[in-house]
Assembly symmetry: D2
Homo-oligomer: 396 residues x 4
């Protein structure tokens, strides 16, 4: 019987029933009071999730990639210079997208497994005497390698260089799962999507825009219309939308945001950290390295695990799906065949994570990996027991 | 008890339960075989709905407006000339969008209530000796005025002028509801969305692309990345997607397309025509004119009704919603306050339409309109009775 | 496209989305705290719906018929005498059920279309000098004929006769739709089901039990086990259930009861009365009599309409379903072929009712009935306009 | 985030999405053709699940307990003798129910953990020279102890004794999960419910009735009305129902039966046996005994695990729920506090089972049980790997 197990891809995530039901709402008139009345409070609540007091919230019917595009086309002009680090599939794609829109991207290349490097960013900005670099692009959580970059440190680097570039952050696989402090970190454009920490269907790009980024829109020369932020901000401020809004996703977002805020963002972050650490304990028990180079880079939403020499991770993920009906993330790009990924964000629980770990063990064993059945599970169990919620009864 | 009545806006439409359930599917791995295996047959079936043998099918996570943008940015270059008729809110918006992308739009202005005029298009093209006009833009069904333009006649006009411009058609509120013959009419880019005839949630732009339009992509100089068609076509040909696909909408689209093809497109068109004619019979009985200037322009998906002098249609639609919990389409743009609209596309039935007609009557009467209660209903009933399906038992 | 129209049967009723979703909840452990914690507050709220301070609430996984059976088998003994009026299909069935359990039923037969007659009940009780009649059975709302009996008057009759019999009321198609005052009317056992005013799926019998009726259980000699009330009352008092509870129906009931109480029971009754009167206005306009003999008997949850001589109402309901996909209630029992019924209880709105009225008109016209298209609709519209909610804007 | 984990109670079981959606169907007219047309084919298919050619199928809106009651009240008379073995909570309850209906139950008491004993049944029947015993009651799968009795052997014992008693089997937690052969085993009344192997909401008792049992109904003197089988059989034969049918459960049952038959009943049994054996491997690895006395008694739908001396299994199940949000079955009746139960029937997968096993390990460790983390998981993994479906890729 297929279709009963959770997925362990790093997004889209398993959708809780309450959110699926919220998205299954019947059509209403999007020009009527129900839609108009929901926008203001919803955007206020989204600001709490981005941890920003003043950011403008923009939502497009688009994937996260549309959010990236909106971030640059609304604030930059053809030929503008941007600085970006490239250390995984998604940072690479964002750079490609910039180039397709005629931006001049200065790339800091780092090994996959590394995170965006504040020192090199600072150096590059310091070298930009004429301050022609208009934006620094950072992938907060590189989904391909399971690497979290230190956005706060990058802000400090920018400040140290005294550079006025905008700080644009891809938080698609971090926001609403991992710590994110838009205002404190001085983020100017924070991009995310509906299908990760928000546990919704794919189809909504959610972008938070700082006052500085908003001010930059006036002079931005890149063309945009569908993804025009000023039009969107103006329309939603009136409870409207520049075109037909994705009502079902809004209804789902309302439910999701309420769920997150009810739990509390610090608790949400802690929950993800706890589960991630359990998965990492399993990986250590297997004797396998993570793709992420150092502990401080470890992502709490996805772990990319390097398979032993001589093994093909694509066979592993195929096999796990074919035999156990469990989907793990395949290795992408440079690490295709060399890593597989366990997504552990969204509505994941410790118990669900254990089933993913156990399945990975079976699949690896089936394919001759040198792992001991139950070893990863036991390590994760130990972590989960040690960190179980305070409601936990004490041992006899 | 609010929320029990159907909506009578011209899209998003009332969603049948079976389609809502199809869209409520849990997350799967979009890189796995289930998604890959669905794309080919689904796109084959979509070609049947567009009535095209060879069109490439492109679906973006976007509203219909995103589809418009994709149509132009993938085939045209900055400064390119396009010819467009403007005779309603949606034709106007498309023109605005073109201009924001730096196109040089030659506009044929017509009164709202008219359709795109083949004669003037032919004349404009004939006058374009150097054939620098790259595209003709037609709004097949102008949702604001309830006007259907004659796309086949426009194709004949283009052919008569011997002009090679691409024919781009906004079929957002016509395709899957009203007759559409992509190949026969020589349409090069046909744009629609998920939330009208397909009876889905908003969020997917669906575009069919002729081989000629596809060929034009190579030289197109407008920048695009998120809405890049070639990348999308290449990816979906492999069962993939250039970024995270909106899986729930795809699952819904699969259900919707099956439902439509099972009924048969000719039957779908006939159903819409029958219901539309019932609504028009009611409007005649009320003694009110349609916004559409002549019967051959009457839309089968939406009727825009002109309110008597001295009345404000916005009060009417507000009142109907406040008092009877029924949403009609408000007048937009030039006809704001002067028309209200009854949407009758998608999963509408004759019985549902009667409730909309009856409600409009009550609301008009409440506001002092000179209409006789029951008159519109009786006229619609007469039409519905006379055209009821063959399963209908004969009168005693 | 079938399946889009509301049903107009007198229950099961159209289920609002929010209640369907509530019933679609996943399995939980029914022995855990979620179930245990819901019972007490839910039963408190149900008492408000029955309008009783002290009644015990009993819910069985059963249809309303199971509720009837429980009422008698828990309080009576083989051979016990009960008094019942028979004036429709459902009063007849309850009598049959009593006889199958060996009760001695004294029947007051009345024409179908009449209600339970307080005078004759008083006479019968007065004649029962030895007071061997143990219970009086009343069908509050006879669904087959659309007749509401006057329970308060029957209580007065019982009191006038000074008779101690229990008063058992079948409120399956009245409770939660029409005024019901358990304590004020001195009802001892009030039986209803999930699928009418509660707008749920069929499958739960809901019975309210007065302290007197509860006291009668000790001496009741009829055998019962599955439907044993004392066991059920004892178990639910502890948050348990004597066997596996229908969790999904409980979850739905929780949602339904909240919805009803939020609207307020007086508002719920007024809403049903308003819609019923609109339907009756239509029937008068058609020139057709109701089956219910006099206005004070008219039910607010269902109208049974007598078709003209020479017509077969079964053909009418078949035809409406076959041709317009609308379900009306057929005539049952003695009035089979002679009446058809429009159910207007539950989540029905005025707008939905108009579509039912309009459909009935078309179907009647198709079959040659002497009715004028639109006449019933117009009459109902007039009533609905005149009684529209205070939010209604005043006419210009 | 609560509510994301599967339940491991031995029913109600985890409900697959497709079945939940099937049950979420809107109301239809139960007197119309859709309901009438579904009954015949559905009952044919149910016969395949009971593995009977000729059994009459009876479905009541009731829990399984209602099915037990129907079995006896439709075939027996007050004072009739029945023979039953008592070796668990559910066999005990059925006996109690018989006594409440005035039957004379001859009880064969066995230790909890034993199954119904063919030898003692044969002896009891042989001793019944006058053949006054009218029925033998067998609990096929005793849910409280995880014991499967050998119904075929009991039939052989009855035949050996040459005794004409009816064979009534409680298959609530076995049918549709574990091998069941109504005809081959000579079962006369087989009782089950919707919420176990059928993976539906609770609320439908499903009973299969042999021709002999049907013949016995004529002379049965126990009173019944709501649960009258002859009336039900007569009504459903016409596509009707004696009262309002639970339409949503019928729609769900249709989906469930199709799902089961598509998989194939032998495959369904094998799936349950495989998962059960994995759970048992885990239990062995923990060094804990099952409540079931011998391997041939092991149930494939639930495992009841005896906790070590000095531990209270109720604390364990409470703790697992409170700390890990996982529901296991508590110990019931005589084994309360001494066993906990892992339900593994219905839509359970190997992967889900591993998460249950892992959670049980954590919870036991938390409470000081002498179990090694990961030990049970590893044992189950080994079994699941060794028996994974043929689609499994071979190891490198």
């Amino acid at each position: 019987m297929r279709g009963q197990n959770p997925v362990f891809i790093p997004g889209p995530t398993n959708i809780p029933d309450s959110i699926r039901q919220a998205m299954a709402v019947q059509t209403i008139d999007h020009r009527g009071p129900a839609f108009a009345g929901m926008i203001g409070p919803l955007f206020d609540d989204l600001r709490r999730i981005f941890d920003s007091r003043d950011a403008a919230i923009v939502t497009f019917p688009a994937s996260g990639t549309g959010g990236w595009e909106a971030a640059i086309t609304n604030t930059l002009s053809p030929g503008d210079r941007v600085l970006a680090t490239r250390h995984g599939m998604f940072s690479r794609r964002w750079i490609d997208l910039c180039r397709r829109h005629g931006l001049d991207v200065e790339v800091i290349d780092l090994p996959w497994g590394e995170g965006a490097c504040p020192e090199r960013i600072e150096a590059a900005l310091a070298a930009d005497r004429s301050q022609t670099i208009r934006a620094v692009l950072v992938t907060h959580n590189e989904t391909a390698t399971g690497v979290r970059s230190d956005v706060a440190a990058i802000r400090r680097a920018m400040d140290a260089a005294g550079h006025p570039a905008l700080l644009m952050v891809d938080g698609v696989s971090s926001i609403a799962s991992m710590e994110f402090r838009m205002d404190e970190w001085g983020v100017d454009l924070a991009v995310t999507g509906s299908q990760k920490g928000f546990m919704l269907a794919t189809g909504m790009a959610i972008v938070a825009v700082s006052p500085r980024a908003k001010a930059a829109m006036a002079g931005a020369g890149l063309s945009r219309a569908y993804l025009d932020m000023r039009e969107m901000i103006a329309a939603t401020a009136q409870g409207g939308y520049p075109y037909t809004p994705p009502w079902q996703l809004f209804a789902g977002l309302r439910a999701s945001v309420s769920l997150l805020l009810e739990e509390g963002m610090e608790a949400v972050f802690a929950r993800h950290a706890r589960i991630a650490e359990g998965v990492r304990a399993a990986v250590r028990a297997w004797g396998l390295p993570l793709c992420a180079a150092r502990p401080e880079l470890f992502s709490d939403s996805v772990s990319a695990i390097v398979v032993p020499q001589g093994f093909d991770s694509a066979r592993l993920t195929d096999h796990a799906f074919a035999t156990y009906d469990v989907s793990f993330g395949a290795g992408l790009g440079e690490v295709a065949g060399r890593v597989f990924r366990i997504g552990h964000l969204g509505a994941m629980t410790d118990v669900m994570a254990l089933s993913g770990i156990a399945t990975a063990e079976m699949a690896m064993a089936d394919l001759g990996y040198p792992v001991t059945l139950g070893s990863g599970v036991a390590a994760a169990q130990a972590h989960f027991r040690a960190t179980a919620a305070p409601i936990r009864a004490k041992a006899a």
